[in-house]
């Protein structure tokens, strides 16, 4: 069943996810700095941070159990497994048979579950607060995320990500329709929440009480922190890939050829940089919202997806 080339595709995908993830973070930071009229750190700064963390000794709380040590590893593996199912540079993922969009959402949920468990393990209030808020936001994000991709799935009749990506790309520009755009905006709002950005969470803050993700991982340090941080960046890249390759899959390679893959990678980079710029604009132009205003934001996303489904049925007829 598996040819060597399909194994190669998968290994290359894993490498791309790990290697590109910090770059994306660096680029978004740089763009944000541009809008804030700052110079900002270089786009390679996240690599230096991770490299530095890996050399550091870790300090571990005396209260923790094996969950604390296992959680970063399991979360990392779960996110990367989700990465095998999402088309990044080639639309026909060899391991795409193992799961569809719902599997991706639940794999990300698995990663989150273990990170949140670990946040409770040290017995600190900060961790608990972070874990509580993370799960709170997640319970709003998951239905909205599902519904927004269902809206696109409705269009092509499947939740298989490779299939959606191929189907939308073969439709050409005719795929862009009211429901396509509605669903995209819905998913973009979700992406803000999923990647922990303003107005949902503030990745740059240093005040424990206002943070979600940072509070959750407060007890981690050294190599473990490096894994946690890299995992979070990978997840961000995956959410961006979903946005890019589900809604605008044009340019993605449909078969294995060096030129095709090179073009696809370049196009992919451009797409995520544009999305990153969009994200940076949103982050610069809004303030962080109070936690209990977030349901409003996320129900907007839910409603947009629902409208997308209804308008699909109206536009297409029965």
């Amino acid at each position: 069943m598996f040819t060597l080339s399909s194994l190669g595709i998968v290994i290359f995908q894993v490498i791309i996810i790990i290697v590109l993830a910090p770059l994306l973070s660096g680029i978004i930071k740089k763009i944000k700095a541009f809008f804030q009229i700052r110079k900002g750190p270089g786009i390679f700064q996240p690599y230096y941070d991770i490299a530095k963390l890996m050399r550091k000794d870790s300090v571990v709380s005396e209260n923790v159990s094996w969950i604390f040590h296992a959680a970063p590893v399991i979360s990392f593996a779960a996110v990367l497994t989700a990465g095998l199912l999402i088309p990044i540079y080639i639309s026909d993922m060899p391991f795409g048979f193992a799961g569809d969009l719902i599997a991706v959402v639940y794999l990300l949920a698995l990663a989150r579950f273990f990170t949140a468990l670990a946040s409770l393990d040290a017995g600190s209030s900060f961790g608990g607060m972070g874990g509580s808020r993370e799960m709170f936001v997640a319970s709003m994000v998951e239905p909205a995320l599902m519904l927004s991709i269902f809206a696109i799935a409705l269009n092509v009749g499947s939740t298989n990500l490779s299939f959606i990506s191929q189907a939308v790309s073969s439709m050409g520009l005719s795929a862009v329709s009211p429901y396509h755009i509605l669903a995209f905006v819905a998913l973009f709002i979700i992406a803000i929440a999923e990647t922990g950005r303003i107005p949902v969470d503030n990745p740059a803050t240093h005040l424990e009480l206002t943070m979600i993700h940072e509070a959750m991982i407060l007890e981690y340090s050294g190599k473990q922190l490096a894994i946690v941080e890299l995992g979070a960046m990978m997840k961000q890249l995956l959410v961006f890939s979903l946005l890019a390759n589900i809604f605008f899959p044009w340019g993605i390679a449909s078969e294995i050829s060096a030129a095709g893959i090179a073009v696809a990678l370049a196009v992919f980079l451009i797409k995520i940089i544009i999305l990153g710029a969009g994200m940076a604009i949103v982050e610069t132009s809004t303030a962080k919202w109070r936690l209990f205003r977030l349901p409003d934001l996320l129900s907007v996303s839910l409603m947009l997806s629902f409208l997308a489904i209804v308008s699909f049925i109206i536009v297409r007829g029965v």
Binding site: D57, A77, F97, M140, A153, G222, I227, I309
Partner: protein, 677 residues
């Protein structure tokens, strides 16, 4: 032959178990072994019996009787599947009970519990194999009454007596509606045999069919715990001993689902579209409200009871979708939705049994059900913690555990509506899928709280401080379910064709190769929507990819980390009082849905000397009982006030009552003589 032997073998060992537990009544240890080991042996016979029916022929056994009382058993594949679910649960729970009953040694009457336990199992098996409405009602009532006795086993506690009362009232309201439904069906067929119901049920006038459907939904819904008929579950499940709650929540409420399938598909022919929508709506409401109440509940067993309501809701989402597809004339889609429902039903009986047994083990070693008093159990009960975590991951539907597969199937069957021609179906079903997604996310939150607060960090009380791991039989019983949770998660390619043998009998079509098929690496494929999913592959990928972070951890730099206090802004905070509480953890959800929860808070201060010097504070916060206050109390108040108006006929004199009986008999005789020619 194997049918008859295993069928009688089951009865033999169950009755032996019941008899021996009474005989050895005063000898705790002997009585425990006798009753629970023979129940376990009986369940093996039950498993063999059910498998031989599923892979063989329908088993019929008619007992001699009259026109109305022809007691008989008929075990078709649907019944056999439920016998299998019951037997598997009974097997694991019985082994667990051998260890768990030590909790009651010297305190309670063990023989009594052993007797009731065996008869309870017997009644559940009889419920799913009865072939006559009269016999069904008798064994249904037997099941309700025996489970009532089990619920009030610890009757010295007043809250247990209250729980028992609520349970027995709710279950009898349900039985009343079931009776109405059966009377309508009997009116159509002219007899009480289920064959008659089957033959004439679908040809009855629409109004009768609708009424029979509604009464059955209410009647069995009360047993299954469909919102708003769910109020007894959070009282009865925590009150019963944990091994009994594992059976009640794991399998007893499923017998109601059995009868719903039996009545809707088998008797009434399930051809009406709005029935499906109603079942779907009931499922969606139960799922979402069940988990919302579970998430704010500090009592671990009440939390599990609320979560049972949620899972019944998920099962009904699958069943409702199945009925909608069936009514729309696509039996292959209907079959796949029914497979999803039965898959989740089986999974739920396994992981909920596991979690209730886990809750039992916690009570066994800490003597508290309140998760705010637990903490740090992962170090005190390491084996139990791993087993409990397996249950938690399964019920949170995280891959590759069992709950994920059945929820995935439920999602996919809801999304199969894409190919439906009906616009309403295409809008309502994806919206239900969004409800399911919300439910899944909240369930993960809820069980994160259960495990995170209960097992991690520091012990929050003396009880948790001195906890010890569960004993051998308890771990073994839980271990069986934990292994089963994993197997049901990674082997859907074997489970789905198996379930297809069952759903095929009532949806009339096999889903295999039409709407679902399997492929290499344990992949399930749904060709209509180009979807495939493979939990074993996901597991393997995850295991391979684990190597990357492990390499980062172990191959670079120094290996040992420094162990130090938890960080607390420079203050020494390493005490349990500084930990996050479960209430705080779920507080955001409580604020989010405050209109639903209607929380009640009280703050009382006692002052010493002057109002400026406060001596102590008492803060109390609890969830408002919305259904009790806004539905049940007004209704019971109304009924009581009306009842008072006819109080005068209740004189208390035995002569008057004899006169009533005489009068009734005369009227009945006249009715027969005049009307029944």
């Amino acid at each position: 032959m194997i049918y008859t032997y295993s069928f009688y073998g089951f009865f033999f060992f169950i009755l032996i178990g019941a008899a021996l537990s009474i005989i050895f009544n005063k000898k705790d240890r002997l009585s425990t072994s006798a009753s629970f080991i023979s129940a376990a042996i009986a369940s093996i016979f039950g498993i063999i019996f059910s498998l031989s029916v599923i892979f063989g022929e329908t088993f019929d056994l008619a007992l001699p009787g009259s026109l109305f009382f022809n007691f008989g058993f008929s075990v078709d594949r649907l019944s056999a599947f439920f016998i299998l679910v019951i037997s598997v649960s009974v097997f694991a729970v019985s082994i667990y009970s051998v260890g768990y009953m030590r909790e009651y040694f010297g305190k309670k009457n063990i023989g009594y519990l052993g007797f009731l336990y065996n008869i309870f199992i017997l009644s559940m098996i009889l419920v799913v194999s009865a072939n006559n409405a009269i016999m069904f009602l008798i064994v249904w009532e037997l099941m309700s009454v025996i489970s009532y006795f089990l619920v009030v086993y610890e009757h010295e506690k007043p809250e247990t007596r209250k729980a028992g009362f609520i349970y027995i009232v709710m279950t009898h309201i349900g039985t009343g509606f079931i009776l109405l439904s059966f009377l309508i069906l009997a009116g159509g067929s002219g007899g009480f045999g289920f064959e008659g119901f089957r033959a004439s049920g679908s040809t009855m006038p629409p109004l009768y069919k609708d009424l029979a459907f509604l009464f059955a939904l209410i009647g069995f819904g009360a047993k299954a715990g469909i919102v708003p008929l769910h109020i007894w579950l959070p009282y009865a499940h925590p009150a019963a001993p944990s091994n009994v709650s594992a059976l009640m929540s794991g399998v007893m409420i499923k017998t109601a689902i059995y009868m719903l399938i039996r009545v809707f598909f088998d008797f009434l022919g399930a051809g009406v579209l709005w029935w499906g929508f109603l079942v779907l709506a009931a499922g969606a409401i139960s799922a979402i409200l069940g988990i919302m109440y579970a998430i704010v509940e500090p009592d671990i067993k009440r939390m599990l009871a609320f979560s049972s309501i949620e899972n019944i809701g998920i099962i009904l989402l699958g069943l409702g979708a199945s009925m909608i597809f069936y009514a729309n004339g696509s039996p292959a889609l209907s079959a796949i939705a029914a497979i999803a429902a039965l898959y989740h039903l089986f999974n739920h009986s396994v992981f909920k049994g596991l979690l209730f047994m886990g809750a039992g083990s916690i009570i066994f070693s800490t003597h508290t059900k309140n998760i705010e008093k637990l903490g740090g159990l992962i170090k005190k009960m390491p084996m139990m913690a791993i087993l409990f975590l397996t249950g938690v991951l399964s019920i949170s539907a995280l891959p590759p555990f069992s709950g994920f597969v059945s929820e995935w199937l439920t999602f996919q069957s809801l999304l199969l509506s894409f190919s439906s021609g009906d616009s309403l179906v295409r809008i309502v079903l994806p919206a239900s899928a969004a409800v399911l997604a919300l439910t899944g996310a909240l369930a993960a939150f809820c069980f994160l709280k259960a495990f995170g607060i209960g097992f991690l960090a520091l012990p929050r009380s003396e009880h948790a401080e001195h906890a010890k791991d569960a004993n051998g039989p308890m771990l073994l019983g839980m271990g069986i379910f934990a292994v089963l949770s994993i197997l049901l998660g990674i082997l859907p390619v074997y489970v789905i064709p198996f379930l297809d043998r069952i759903t095929g009998t009532f949806t009339g079509e096999s889903a295999i190769d039409k709407s679902i098929s399997s492929d290499y690496f344990g992949t399930i494929i749904m060709p209509a929507s180009q979807i495939s999913m493979s939990t074993p592959s996901l597991l393997v990928f995850m295991l391979i990819l684990l190597s990357i972070p492990l390499v980062i951890l172990f191959l670079s730099g120094k290996k040992q980390g420094t162990v130090y206090e938890t960080w607390g802004c420079g203050q020494p905070v390493s005490t349990a009082r500084n930990e996050y509480t479960g209430t705080a953890l779920s507080k955001p959800v409580q604020i989010w849905f405050k209109n639903l929860y209607r929380p009640v808070r009280e703050l009382r201060a006692t002052y010493s000397v002057s109002p400026l010097i406060k001596q102590s504070f008492k803060f109390e916060s609890r969830i408002g009982q919305v259904f009790e206050n806004h539905l049940y109390i007004p209704v019971t108040g109304y009924i009581l006030s009306k009842s008072r108006m006819i109080k005068f006929i209740q004189t208390g004199s035995i002569h008057a009552y004899l006169a009533y009986i005489f009068g009734t008999l005369v009227i009945l005789f006249m009715f027969v003589i005049l009307g029944g020619k």
